[in-house]
């Protein structure tokens, strides 16, 4: 693994990655770029997603489903990008998936829990910020008297709307076991 990273860095600095050979030689990206859209855990795999027309990406009303790029180990598989929007759990992606397989564990819409990184959050760094305050559809973000936010996880379903507005990119979704 460390070898391949070194190789990729060398490749990058020598301009190798810019050539087709370079891209094929170095499998740079193996880490998933985002969460799997809700309900699709059992439906997607390397084989069935490769040849799909990307229906889920096209149909997503929120435009938050993206496909891993060609150079990626998971090329063609969908992931959620919360930079511009969050998930409403509308299941349009499930309906659009040609390989849809019902997930018995997915009994309720749930992607995970929002996690606020206090080392990145401006408010926790003593910069007065309240930009996440409006974002949660179910109002789970609370500020204490010292103007520091925290996210109540009890009913958080990881929809990602809080990520969209955070100027510090301090919020992530920690996936739950069944997503």
């Amino acid at each position: 693994m460390s070898d391949s990273i070194d190789k990729s860095r060398r490749g990058f600095f020598t301009g190798k990655l810019l050539t087709r050979e370079g891209r094929e030689e170095v499998k740079v990206q193996v880490k998933r770029l985002g969460l799997i859209p809700p309900g699709l855990r059992l439906s997607i795999s390397a084989s069935n997603c490769q040849n799909c027309a990307g229906n889920c990406e096209k149909i997503c009303p929120q435009k938050i489903i993206k496909l891993h790029p060609e150079s990626h180990d998971l090329a063609g598989q969908p992931y959620l990008d919360f930079n511009n929007n969050g998930c409403t759990f509308c299941s349009e992606c499930n309906k659009a998936c040609p390989n849809f397989t019902t997930d018995p564990l997915h009994s309720r819409p749930d992607l995970g829990n929002a996690f606020l990184d206090q080392e990145k959050c401006y408010a926790w760094l003593n910069i007065t910020c309240m930009s996440c305050m409006n974002s949660c559809p179910v109002d789970l973000i609370k500020f204490n008297k010292k103007r520091k936010p925290s996210i109540s996880l009890k009913s958080c379903n990881g929809c990602g709307f809080c990520i969209t507005n955070c100027p510090a990119s301090a919020i992530n979704i920690n996936p739950t076991a069944n997503s």
Binding site: P61, K63, N84, C90, C129, S131, M133, R147
Partner: protein, 916 residues
């Protein structure tokens, strides 16, 4: 499905204006950890570009670029803290659409009002500007030209603009957007104390035991001061009391002990309820009041600052506009003004709304008598879901808290009270309460007017970039003040125009009716920031006029202009600002401006070279001028006297007003102050002087010895000085004015001395009118005003059934010109939303994130609906901020003003909201 609409909408609404600033080096994140990369950063002290708090900012530069900013730990205002806007000061200058060339509307190489913007040279830009200026100036006289300035002018900029207009062009048509921001506060300061600006300072936050906020969402709009308040609250939960009075539940309520949600406009009644309680409970501090105060009142029939003619009105707005001439008193107003409901009242005092006279304490008591708890509670309760009993209890707590004998109280307010159809009255009422109790001008006690803009105090007010003002609280209408200024400016007598010029709202109206043909927009965005905008945009584009906009970015005002001048931003020039606590702070130029962008000071000085004395100091027609010593309607020629003073008619305004002998002695380079920093203004002028320093030091002579003493330029630039609160006497700043113990201007042995000189001789009379012939002097005293409740002229009705108010959010500054270019801030709040009570939304079949129309008598706009989060309006009330040109809030706001201050009321329009 609704969500996608929202996102699409967000994108389309911002595409025009908000570009991402990609590739800018990180800001303060890096500053908080030291690393090798930082070793060649140059750090220097500076000031935040945004609000009137006046936080100190440390700026780091490297290779001609700002690489980091951080809150200045040595700045007493913010002690190293930053709000989210202040944190991104370093990024505001690097938006992708920064303007770097003058742009002129042209067709086939010639200026054409309907042409497209083409890049031109500065010479070509000034040629056209000169030609158009002179066309309108020669045709309409000094009253036909105008400058719309700002509380964001640096002190040298505002001073250059005011001097160029008033001494050079002999026009008083210069007015700042600060008119929209704190003019009501100024009227109240002048009428109450005879001198502008607060008696106290921010230290009061730490010294008091009570903070009461009125129409001030400090948590979002003055976040660093609020941090100081909330730190005190956390340290002393029981003892330190907070009461938030507001028309919409907001973040400031969150740590308050009591939140009072009142109906728009009824703050006038709430103050009189407190006043009545003070009287009834025998809590008047007679020692203080008898020695230091008098009582006063004025007429009620002063109109609402709207146009008196319906000639230009849209059909739908005519019914409200007619109230400028006559109103019918409603039930509550009748009680408040001791009259009968249904009575028709002609607005007879619209021309002289500021007149006032002294009354006896007994008359004052009669005035506040109708304001009982029952009456005021019925009138003012703003949340239909709150029980009357609970609300009454809160009002009693409010009165108890103010009155409690040994409790120190600070009242803070901002736009809720200033942007008010009776803004000057309600400002005077807060002093009424504090003065009656003797809780003013002492550590931890006092009414403190917060300011919106970084130099609304330091420049707009102190320098006097208003239509009626000269520096240091002098006014153009006063012959002694004009003579003093003419002497200091070395002008022939009668150069200065005694007729008050047009205020900013009237400048826009004058573009519409053709009285003003030339307007130069400086450091502001009036075509987005002024209420009832549809009128002014149309006037700018369709009337025969020439509009110049100095701007770093293509704002709404730039886009409606005929000529755009690319302009340097804060750290690309030398400057000084003055904040709300009278603290003057300076900074050096840190980096150079991009492309051909140039400083405002350079633009004005360079333009002044194009005017010879013979063109501006000859006889001038001023329609409506009536002043002792002047022929009606005329300014005399002062050329002969100018020659006697040694000027030639061929001298330019540059020679006479700016680069005169004294100023030329202030040399550039000036290494002792500059310490390696550049000065682009000096370099471009190329004649070896230091304009910012020379202009500041010339300006400060107005205030020295007149209770407006500033230190000299070099002092403010010193590395060990983080601003000083004026008056600065013998190098010592003043924390509490009018208090003998702290203010060297207060007479020894007086205890307190309200020494302000303005309006200190009054007739005497009763509540209704003055009855004496002669005037009584009241030197060294403050006035306690009785001002009644008056109903807002536009209120929700069956058709427009909701209140609408606009204001700010923490992430964005005013019209978003700067903050919307910072990717992080744009990400945080990409567009303005409309806050509404969820039940009001439900009643209209609307849900959160729907796109809705907001429609008033003046126009309609679309916005995304929000029913939760930081603002929680009561039923019947809506709010949307005005930073977003894609959600053009000022198209629906009403252009009524406080008739005394001419400050617009952005807070009380009636609208309807429905699905788009």
């Amino acid at each position: 499905m609704l969500e996608v609409n929202r996102r699409e909408f967000l994108k389309s609404s911002v595409a025009a204006s908000a570009a991402a600033t990609v590739g800018i080096p990180l800001t303060a994140v890096q500053a908080s950890t030291t690393s090798e990369a930082e070793q060649d950063w140059q750090w220097d002290k500076s000031v935040c570009r945004f609000c009137g708090t006046g936080c100190g900012i440390m700026v780091a530069t490297k290779e001609g670029r700002i690489v980091a900013t951080k809150g200045d730990p040595d700045a007493p205002v913010n002690r190293g803290l930053n709000c989210i806007k202040g944190y991104f000061n370093g990024k505001i200058m690097y938006g992708k659409d920064r303007l770097t060339k003058p742009l002129l509307r042209m067709t086939d190489g010639k200026f054409d009002k309907n042409g497209k913007f083409k890049a031109v040279s500065w010479d070509r830009a000034f040629d056209e500007m000169e030609k158009q200026f002179k066309r309108h100036y020669n045709e309409k006289g000094p009253a036909g030209i105008s400058i719309t300035g700002s509380g964001q002018y640096t002190i040298p900029e505002g001073y250059a603009a005011a001097k160029l207009m008033k001494a050079g062009f002999r026009s008083n048509n210069i007015d700042p957007n600060a008119r929209h921001c704190m003019a009501s506060a100024v009227v109240a300061f002048i009428q109450t104390f005879g001198i502008d600006e607060p008696s106290g300072c921010y230290d009061d936050i730490g010294l008091t035991d009570t903070v009461i906020t009125w129409g001030a969402n400090m948590a979002e709009c003055h976040p660093i001061l609020w941090a100081r308040v909330s730190d005190r609250k956390i340290a002393d939960e029981e003892g330190y009391k907070l009461i938030n009075l507001t028309t919409c539940s907001n973040q400031t309520s969150d740590i308050a002990d009591v939140e009072i949600v009142f109906k728009p406009g009824t703050d006038l009644a709430l103050f009189n309820y407190i006043g009545r309680e003070i009287v009834k409970r025998n809590a008047v501090n007679h020692d203080f009041v008898d020695k230091h105060c008098v009582f006063a009142t004025g007429p009620y029939d002063i109109g609402y600052g709207m146009r008196a003619t319906s000639k230009y009105a849209f059909d739908a707005e005519k019914d409200i506009q007619a109230k400028e001439l006559e109103i019918t008193l409603d039930k509550d107003e009748a009680i408040a003004q001791r009259k009968t409901a249904g009575m028709k009242v002609k607005q007879k005092n619209t021309k002289k709304p500021v007149k006032h006279w002294m009354i006896e304490f007994e008359e004052f008591k009669k005035g506040v008598e109708p304001y009982t708890l029952d009456y005021v509670a019925e009138l003012s309760k703003g949340d239909p879901d709150e029980s009357m009993e609970d609300y009454k209890k809160k009002l009693q707590i409010l009165a108890d808290t103010y009155i409690e004998k040994n409790r120190k109280v600070v009242s803070f307010w901002t736009m809720g009270m200033n942007q008010h159809y009776r803004g000057s009255w309600v400002n005077e009422q807060v002093y009424m309460v504090h003065l009656l109790l003797g809780k003013q001008a002492m550590p931890g006690n006092g009414a403190f007017s917060l300011t919106g803009q970084p130099s609304a105090c330091g420049t707009a007010r102190e320098v006097g970039t208003f239509a009626h003002r000269l520096p240091a609280d002098l006014v153009v209408a006063n012959p002694k003040h004009r003579a003093f200024s003419e002497n200091l400016w070395k002008l022939p007598a009668k150069t200065l125009n005694p007729k008050v010029g047009t205020h900013i709202m009237k400048i826009l109206r004058s573009l519409e009716d053709g009285k003003v043909g030339f307007n130069w927009v400086q450091v502001n965005n009036p075509f987005q920031a002024s209420a009832n905008a549809n009128h002014w945009i149309k006037a700018a584009r369709e009337m025969d006029n020439f509009i110049v906009c100095s701007d770093p970015y293509p704002t709404v005002s730039a886009k409606v202009a005929d000529l755009i001048l690319p302009t340097s931003m804060i750290y690309e020039k030398w400057g000084l600002y003055g904040n709300a606590e009278r603290r003057t702070q300076g900074w050096r130029q840190q980096v150079n401006a991009p492309g051909d962008a140039r400083t405002d000071v350079w633009q004005m000085l360079e333009f002044s070279k194009r005017f010879k004395l013979k063109e501006v100091w000859g006889e001038k027609s001023i329609p409506g001028l009536k002043s002792k010593g002047f022929e009606d309607g005329k300014l005399p020629s002062v050329l002969a006297e100018a020659e006697a003073m040694g000027y030639s008619p061929e001298d330019t305004l540059y020679d006479v007003l700016f680069a005169h002998k004294e100023n030329k002695k202030v040399a550039w380079p000036d290494e002792a102050v500059a310490k390696g920093h550049a000065n682009s203004t000096s370099d471009w002028l190329g004649d070896g002087w230091f304009p910012e320093k020379a202009l500041f030091n010339e300006y400060r002579q107005f205030g020295v010895g007149h209770a407006h003493d500033l230190a000299d330029f070099d002092t403010y630039m010193r590395d060990d000085v983080r601003g000083l609160r004026w008056p600065v006497v013998d190098g010592k700043e003043t924390m509490w004015r009018f208090n003998e113990e702290y203010d060297s201007y207060a007479a020894k042995g007086s205890g307190f001395d309200f020494y302000g000189k303005a309006l200190k001789a009054l007739k005497t009379g009763n509540l209704d009118k003055p009855t004496s012939k002669g005037k009584t002097k009241l030197a060294h005293k403050a006035k306690i005003f009785f001002r009644p409740y008056a109903a807002p002229p536009e209120q929700p009705d069956n058709n427009y059934d909701l209140w609408f108010s606009t204001g700010r959010v923490i992430e964005h500054w005013h019209t978003g010109t700067m903050t919307r270019r910072v990717p992080e801030l744009h990400r945080a709040v990409p567009t303005a939303v409309l806050w509404m009570h969820p039940d009001d939304a439900g009643k209209r079949n609307l849900s959160r994130n729907d796109i809705v129309w907001i429609e008033s008598r003046r126009g309609k706009i679309k916005a995304v609906l929000e029913t939760q989060g930081r603002n929680r309006p009561p039923k019947g009330y809506t709010f949307a901020p005005f930073f977003d040109e894609g959600v053009f809030v000022n198209k629906i706001c009403i252009d009524m003003t406080c008739p005394m201050s001419k400050e617009t009321d952005f807070k009380k329009a009636a609208v309807k909201v429905y699905k788009a």
